[in-house]
Symmetry: C2
Subunit: 210 residues, 2 copies
Amino acid sequence: MKFTKKDIQELPHVHKINLVNSLSGYKAANLIATRSNENITNVGVFSSVIHLGSEPPLFGFILRPTTVKRDTYNNIRSTGYFTINAINSEIIEDAHHTSAKYDSTISEFDQTDLQTEYLNNFYAPFVAQSNLKIALKYSNEYAIEENGTILIVGELIECYVNENMLSTDGFIDLSKGNTVAINSLDGYSKVDSPTRFEYQKPLKIVKPQN
Amino acid sequence: MKFTKKDIQELPHVHKINLVNSLSGYKAANLIATRSNENITNVGVFSSVIHLGSEPPLFGFILRPTTVKRDTYNNIRSTGYFTINAINSEIIEDAHHTSAKYDSTISEFDQTDLQTEYLNNFYAPFVAQSNLKIALKYSNEYAIEENGTILIVGELIECYVNENMLSTDGFIDLSKGNTVAINSLDGYSKVDSPTRFEYQKPLKIVKPQN
């Protein structure tokens, strides 16, 4: 089935955002946690966390400034720190509930069974139930002119990985931690064990044009 | 297990990139296809495609300028067009092979069983075997100062979705198309049917602090 840009623009709002959010494929499922200068914790579900580079280890995420997740932004800018916590299948319901628009004075940690965990004196809380957690320092941000979103960039300070997920070559098998993937805006999926491939080199024989 | 930034910096290169690429969670698995002004097609696997917004429908991906995928960048800049094609489990081996460093004069479409498909006179080819395909026009790019990567932004012109994947509310069930997710650099995983949740509103009763 074909949809032109105009077809999409004319869809009802919910139909449109469900569709367009599906098109890019699976998204990472993470909880970003922060703590304000007033000591109020915040945790929100984000499906836009991306790997930006490994030397140094850099990650980014997209923030839509008009959403409740402004608390996340304000806390990151005022304190400089945040954590990214992988969502596993045991906590998807509470993780998704953090998308509700709570007032800044209320912590989503108090409205759900998600628990704060403080490790190694890092300022921002981790999510205790997560088995893959990154502590990050705010590095930079880029305003996306086309639609007013912001790409936030953070650098890894340290990370915590459950040992059962870790392979001898550094690969973390996310399926061993029941890490989920997000489909569109509100779909959470369990994922099978990965098939891994070798580093690819060009074929020595060039195939004829097909 | 804990890794500090320094621990990671001291890991052997492959170990380091396997680990850091795993930390952000599952990644979208897509093939980006282009055609040069000289009529040479190109297709490459990308795990960094993200949804940037729905009104208008905008997508982005991260390009590491030092890799072979420079062909993708050059073709997008010189012609203005590209396609994003979801990878399904039937084509993972060929999709991964496109990461091999072929010379610009050789098309990955000729070195694999991936086939070009031209739809509605769009300049860039689609991947015929993909069941979820987006035609995009280059919109902008943002240089990530921290590590020299580039965020390329494109706007949807049209998209093609297999009807069996489409729900009545616009949600595309990626699992019905056997769309895979990427784990780290070289792991491809099949994904289960999603559990969908309602739009979340704050709880009326504020829970006591835990």
